[in-house]
Subunit: 353 residues, 2 copies
C-alpha cells in the first residue's frame, strides 16, 4: 500500500479557492506516478466563514488541522474596509494563529526572477535568493497594549520579543540552506544600530553559528540599506536571514522585483515536523478580482513545489518547478493572458505529457 | 543691520566634511544678495572625536548646539567593524540623541526623480513625493532590554512607544504639507493588521484629523504593500506619513528609486522652533570613499534648500533648488563624473551668474 499523506486544504477568501483548485490539480498530477497518495480535507476558514458563523479559528479547527501532515492555504481576508470585519482581524486570528500555534518558526520565501518575466527593474541581473524569515517572534508576538485609549493621553506600545532559542534555531536553518546552495552566502538583515538589544542578540548568534559553517560567507546589512540593494543590485543576495517584521517587508519588495506577488511562494515551516508545515502564496485574497478566473495561480502552484520538497518528495517538487518554469517562459512568448484554470491546465499538461 | 542666523555645522566623519564644505559654499552664495547673514559655529563630533576624546555628545555640546537657529550635519559614523567603535554606537549617541533632545518630531524626506537622472526602475514615471517620518517615537525610543544576556535563555525585547500627542502632531504636519501640494493626497503607511495597538492609534488619529482637511484625500497601505508600490508605481504617492522605523526603511528605498542616496536630502524638524531643526543628507559617512573628492555633495546641498525654506528664506531656497535641478540635468549631458568641489562650484556659479 502506498503511503497516504493527510493534507489540510484551506482555500480561504477571494481568489484563494480559485488558485488552490489549480494547486491541488498540479499536486495530484505531479505525484500520480509516485508511490504516494494524498488525502485532502478541506477547511472552510476566513472572512466568509467568520461572517457566516462568527468564528475565525476554533480550537476544534486547530486540533483538526494539526492532525494533518501538511497544509495548503490559498489566501484569507475579506474586502478591505468591510465594517463587519473591523474587529475580526482575520490575519491575526487565523493566519498568524496558525503560524504561531504550529510553531512555524521558518518562513521560507524564495525569490527567483524567471527567464522572460518582466521586472520593474531596468537591469535586475540574476535574481535568485531566498529569505529565511523568523515566524514566531519579533513584533508579531501580539505583545502590545494601550492605555487611555481614545483620549489625547493614549499611549500604545508594541513589544518585539526575541529569544536566543528562537533566533538560534532559525539562524541554523538559514546556515543549512546557505550551505546547500552554490554561492553559500548568508546576509543577516536587522537594524542593530537602533534596535540594540534585539540586534545584538541576532548578531551574536549569527557570529556564533557561523563558526560551525566555515564554508558559508556571512555579511550584515541594516534593513534600510537592504532595500536599496534589493533594487540596485539584487543579485548580491543568496540567503537572507531576518526577523519577522523585516522579513515581511523585504519579501514583498523581493516579490515585486522578481515579477510580482503573482509568482511568490512561501512555506511556513516547522522543520522538525512536530507540527504540519503550511504552504501559501505570498499574495492576499484580492477580493476585487475574485471569482473572475483572472488570478495567477502560479504562486500557489510554486507553494506546492515547496510542500512536496518539505515532505521529501524531491523528484515531484523538481517536476513542478520545472513545469512552472517552462510555463512561465512559454507565457512570455504567448503574450496574452490566460484564465486561472488555463494556467493550471497548462502546467498539468507539462507534468503528464 | 541684517539679521544674523546662528548656524551650527557638524561636518562629522568620512565624506561628511567634504559635502558640508560644498553645502556651506552654496548656502553663502544663495543668500549673498539677501538681507541676512550666517554665523557658523563648527562642531567636531562623530567617530573621529570619539576616538580622540572618548566623548560622543557631551551636555556642553548639546547646550551649545541648541543655542543655534539651525543645524547642518554632514554624516556621522566610523569605519564599519572598527573594534574601537563597537560599544560607541555613534548613531544612537549622537544622531538620534540630537533628534530626540531637540524634539525633531518631523523627519521630512522628499523624493524627486529629477529629469535625466537614472533610476533603477525601468519605467519610474513621475516620482515626486515626500515622506513625513515621525522622529521621536516608535521603536526608536531606546526602550529595549535583555535578560540572561549571552546565555541560551536570553530574551531581548524592543518596545515601540506611540502616543496620541506624538502621532497627532506629526499627522497634522503631514496634512498641512499635503494641503500645500497640487495633488493633496496623503497615504498612511503602517502595519495595522499586526501591530494592532500602535496601528489603531495611527489610524484613528489620521481619520480624526482628516475631517479637518476635507480637500486632502487619504488612503492607507501596509508597509509591505507600500514597498511594492514604491517599485511598481511610485507616482501614486504624494505625501506619506508613517512611523519612525517604517519611515527609515521607506525613505532609503525611495532614495534608491529616485536616483540614489547621493541626491536624497532630509530635515529633522521641530516645526514650532522651540529647538533648532537639523538638515542632513540621507546618506552615511561612506568612509571607503572619504577624502577622495568623489562624494556627491548634492544631497547636502539640497538639505541646505530645506534649511533655507525652514528659516523662511523661501526665495533663496527656491534658487538653490533651481540651481541644483539645472546642474543635475547638465551633469546627465556631461556624462563624466566631477569632483565633490566641482559640483559645489558649478552650483555656486549658477547661483551667482
Ligand atoms: C497578512 C499578514 C498578517 C502577513 C504578515 O504580515 O506576515 C502577510 O503580509 C504575509 O507576509 O504573509
Ligand atoms: C543612522 C541611523 C540611526 C539613521 C536612522 O535609522 O534613522 C539613518 O538610517 C537615517 O535614516 O537617518
Amino acid at each position: 500500500m502506498s503511503p497516504l499523506i493527510k493534507l489540510a486544504v484551506i482555500p480561504g477568501d477571494g481568489i484563494g479557492p480559485e488558485v488552490v483548485a489549480e494547486a491541488v490539480k498540479v499536486l495530484e498530477a505531479a505525484t500520480a506516478a509516485d508511490d504516494v497518495s494524498f488525502d485532502a480535507t478541506w477547511f472552510s476558514l476566513g472572512a466568509a466563514r467568520f461572517l457566516e458563523t462568527g468564528d475565525v479559528l476554533t480550537d476544534e479547527d486547530l486540533t483538526a488541522i494539526a492532525s494533518h501532515d501538511a497544509i495548503l492555504l490559498g489566501a484569507v481576508g475579506g474586502v478591505p474596509g468591510d465594517p463587519r470585519l473591523v474587529n475580526a482581524n482575520i490575519e491575526r486570528g487565523l493566519l498568524l494563529k496558525l503560524r504561531f500555534s504550529l510553531d512555524h518558526y521558518v518562513n521560507l520565501r524564495p525569490s527567483v526572477l524567471f527567464p522572460g518575466v518582466p521586472s520593474p527593474l531596468a537591469a535586475p541581473g540574476n535574481v535568485d535568493f531566498v529569505v529565511v524569515r523568523e515566524g514566531t517572534e519579533g513584533p508579531y508576538v501580539g505583545n502590545g497594549g494601550a492605555i487611555r485609549q481614545g483620549t489625547t493621553h493614549e499611549v500604545a506600545n508594541e513589544v518585539s520579543v526575541n529569544t536566543a532559542f528562537g533566533v538560534e534555531r532559525v539562524v541554523r536553518y538559514a546556515f543549512e540552506k546557505a550551505q546547500g546552495r552554490p554561492r553559500r552566502h548568508l546576509t543577516l538583515v536587522h537594524k542593530t544600530n537602533v534596535l540594540v538589544f534585539a540586534g545584538s542578540l541576532w548578531q551574536r548568534i549569527v557570529s556564533a553559528v557561523a563558526a560551525e559553517y566555515p564554508d558559508v560567507t556571512v555579511d550584515y546589512l541594516h534593513v534600510d540599506a537592504a532595500t536599496i540593494f534589493l533594487v540596485s543590485n539584487p543579485s548580491r543576495f543568496d540567503v537572507i536571514v531576518t526577523d519577522n517584521l523585516f522579513g515581511d517587508i523585504l519579501t514583498d519588495l523581493a516579490a515585486a522585483i522578481s515579477g510580482g506577488i503573482g509568482l511568490a511562494a512561501s512555506g511556513n515551516i516547522n522543520p522538525e515536523g512536530r507540527f504540519p508545515s503550511m504552504f501559501e502564496p505570498v499574495h492576499g485574497s484580492a477580493p476585487d478580482i475574485a471569482g473572475k478566473q483572472v488570478a495567477d495561480p502560479t504562486a500557489a502552484i510554486l507553494s506546492v513545489a515547496l510542500l512536496l520538497a518539505h515532505l521529501g518528495l524531491t523528484d515531484a517538487a523538481a517536476r513542478v518547478s520545472a513545469a512552472v518554469t517552462a510555463d512561465i517562459v512559454a507565457r512570455a512568448a504567448l503574450g496574452i493572458p490566460r484564465s486561472t484554470s488555463a494556467v493550471g491546465d497548462a502546467i498539468v499538461t507539462r507534468l503528464t505529457d
